[in-house]
Symmetry: D2
Subunit: 321 residues, 4 copies
């Protein structure tokens, strides 16, 4: 009979992680479970750095960015010794199930740990990058996109006023989810994503075509994995002579009050994770698919490939003519 | 061969209508069509108040609340004479298809007009209420929910500081979509929706239970269709003696810069509406179902019943213990 | 030699009170003092409800609305018995000076208490209403004005789209500071303040004049002390027949993250209050005058009359033609 | 008798420039004047690129960032030939007075032009940098500071969650106004400004002191004129080993909806500029000093030195212990 579970946040922080921690704790307490909050991701797991979380521990956090449990990327947990130490704490603290809020790397670690030591684990996808297979959306993505769109709005004021070309670099090493969503919503004239090859000739031609029609300013949103913002600006300047500036959004995208959608997603997924542990499930991740909360085997989910909607990419091109 | 279409916004305005108009115009122009923007909903249709919209007419509007075409609830279009006059304008202006951005009432009017005069019509669901069958989400809903959540955040500051109970009345005559989403995301202690009966005894008992545990403030979100905010506050004050205040959000929920999600939804649905007209379809509405853009017969769609997710309602109750 | 001071927030909460508490605590600790945080205004003073505040107690609060010390309007402190009980706590807790963050009523109470029992007191003007003589600006006013302006922006979207007249009621019982600043910054067509008589004839004539020039929507900002929003709307509707709606901002104006200006003002005034107590001053209030932090005798300050800038009022009329 | 004036925006754009243009136009029209809007700063003046502005031309712009007149830094106007061509346009368009919204360089250019050709000129200080002598605050500064503070808030979420040190570079080549205000309001642990020498030893010692007390994250705000953000981060990392990240706010600070304070300042200063021209004044700049709108001789004003409030700088250090 399940009595005590642990919860941790791992990898890059994302807005909505706190709403998720709150959901895990309150759902668990509602069903009579105890919850231990593990600090700094798997590091706290290894070091036994954890505290009991009560109803009141998660009051007034639903709207806060970041994570009250802190987070880290744990190198030690990649090693068998690290995991062995973690297992000592599992026994010492009487942890009978673990909710891991983070990205695919964290899920893999949790999965290995389960195979080695048998602790039931459930992953909740929390990352701004939206790059986790098995879910249509990750916790934090909606907020990050809105933050990027606000930045585009601000920069457009200056781009228009000075008749300049602006390159805005957003996050996304392997995927262009943020770039596409923010570029489409922000009305960016050009969007560069890792999934789709581009040429500077094409970009500059598009700029020149706009210029000849009287469009004297332009916003180019580029995912960091497609090209560096500085490089894009330099190339454009060289070829067109346009006054071209760069803004790299960087960590601004990680923070801030989560949007309503992220808080709701975080609440639903956090609660579902607890339900799965209570039902005796393990090595599952929760996600949202076609509008429904779902549970998948971590390994199955992560073996899927995540792909961007290229029709939407084409649409963005048509609408920003 | 389709050459010229019209677009209008009808009913209450919602954030994202402009993003949708932009998508209709740019998608249409991309395919070589001409677009007439019809003013003040069906009123402008009846009065022949319409202007050509070009690529530049919809520049710099994607982020603006309201609708550049203005909107109205047309009484005249309910009458055969009104529709007959509208048909005169269809001929006069050479309109061969019509995109109606608005609510179910507007779709019904458009559908009747099609049956009478044959003009192909496609509806795009634009309303903050999220109350249109045939789509999981309407344009403007996400923004309205975020606006309501921001309001809850602000009021919670005062509720906490003064140890008060606050009743926040949000829109939703027949459905509690805004109330549920905003209440869940805002961490409201109690949510009252039309879909679920409630008793003041139950509400007050919940408040008293919280009070005994030391919770000296409380937020109650009420959909206008469930009960009047003023009445709820009065009843609570009478029964508990708690200092209880009311805020009626009203029209604040309609305005504001649309969120990224609303701009993207508006862009996708607006483009799809044009595609449908180009494909010779009529009496269709577009929507988003299970994450996909879909097209349904207006009459089929509107005969469905829209229902709220009562599991989510229960979850909100559990998480705000 | 001063060793321990108390700090409390009193009256209506205002954004920036937490930034002020933080400044009082950190400035005091920097100079080797101890600080007691008194709960719920003078009520906690009377009941001995107070806690020591350290550097860490005020970490991460500069950006939060409301007040971590909670606030109340204390009826008991108006009575000699209440103040006598408070004095017991002064002795019991060893309080040697008191910072009162609140409005003029709170300052008067503190001043009386000083005359009766000798405890040095310094007032810091914290209220959104900006209605305290002796300072050009109060903590919270700038935030409240920005909140009201955002509301005007949102409502203008709907006003324009529906060609409606909107009446927005803002706070201000005796003064029109919020109404004037928000109306001028929001581009309101008409502003009604208690300081300046108005007639419905004049308002309606202005509306009609705009209407004849093609201005089909209009925003009227009214301070609650000038007239009730509902009444204004009813009168306008009766006389002009215009579709007129009302929004009462109410408590929305009190909450929210404080603006940069409010945080800076709160920090400077809070620190100054501690300096005054350290210098042996009493019955002073701090304020900002002509851009400088100043200290005035509470009674002198409160005997001054606060007046609104009627030139600015005229300017608002000219600019919103 | 004055009949027609021109208005232009020059130098870097700043939020509130549109509110100022609106005030110039409406105030002038109110007094029966005509207004020509000159495009792209002095470039449009030289090229004769100007359009009449009416009441309606400036409707619905008070809340928009950027400038509807566009702006530029004009190299040509530095040359006598450029100014001679501008004078041709003065005659051709019948301009009898000029309002220049921009920075000190723009005022100098206007002043020289007046000495050469006699056209009355009045400068209005519009720049986010707050670096113009003769005024306590420039149009756009308040908005830029609030933007920077919001960025600090977002980054603090990640700094706290990951226990990192963050360096945030803000604008300010010669002055630390934005850095100081944003750093104080954002609760930054360290602020680096050009006006005050610093050593990396001092910074790192402060960081280490915090670290030993348990403060595992830290925000350092640096004005671009004090040091490069990248360099600061590198030095800190070298000396302390702390995980240190950088965010360069850059052009994000220029854009966005102006705050209420910036709109009010812009409105008052724009109106005053028109009054001065009507009164036959020339080579004046308007400003706000000790809370009052003032007019100064451009050359007198610019010969003053602008200095930052070092007491406020010290206070920021005390409050962020």
């Amino acid at each position: 009979m399940l009595q005590r579970i642990g919860v941790l946040t791992s990898g890059g922080d994302s807005p909505g992680m706190n709403a998720c921690i709150r959901a895990v704790v309150r759902k668990a307490v509602y069903h009579g479970l105890e919850v231990m909050g593990i600090k700094r991701g798997f590091n706290g797991f290894i070091e036994g750095d954890m505290v009991p979380l009560h109803l009141g521990s998660v009051a007034d956090i639903i709207h806060r960015g970041g994570t009250i449990l802190h987070t880290a990327r744990s190198v030690q947990f990649l090693n068998p010794e690290g995991r062995a130490r973690a297992n000592e704490n599992v026994k010492r603290f009487g942890i009978q199930g673990l909710v891991v809020i983070g990205g695919d790397g964290s899920f893999r670690g949790a999965s290995i740990f389960n195979r080695e030591y048998g602790l039931p684990v459930v992953g909740v996808p929390g990352t701004i990058d939206n790059d986790i297979p098995g879910t249509d959306q990750t916790i934090g993505f909606d907020t990050a996109v809105n933050t990027a769109v606000e930045a585009i709005n601000k920069i457009r004021d200056t781009a228009t006023s000075h008749e300049r070309t602006f390159v805005i670099e957003v996050m996304g090493r392997n995927f262009g989810f943020i770039a596409l969503a923010a570029g489409l919503a922000g009305g960016a004239e050009t969007i560069l994503i890792p999934e789709r090859p581009f040429s500077y000739d094409e970009i500059c031609e598009r700029l020149m075509r706009g210029y000849r029609r009287g469009k004297l300013h332009s916003i180019i949103v580029v995912a960091e994995g497609a090209a560096g913002g500085l490089e894009v600006a330099r190339k454009i300047k060289e070829r067109t002579g346009f006054d071209t500036k760069v803004t790299i959004l960087g960590h601004l995208q990680r923070g801030g009050t989560p949007t309503a959608a992220d808080r709701i997603l975080a609440s639903c997924l956090g609660a579902k994770a607890v339900e799965l542990l209570m039902a005796g499930e393990t090595r599952k991740m929760v996600g949202i698919k076609a509008g429904k909360v779902v549970a998948l085997d971590i390994e199955d989910a992560l073996s899927q490939t995540r792909s961007i909607d290229l029709d939407m990419y084409s649409l963005a091109g048509i609408l920003s003519i």
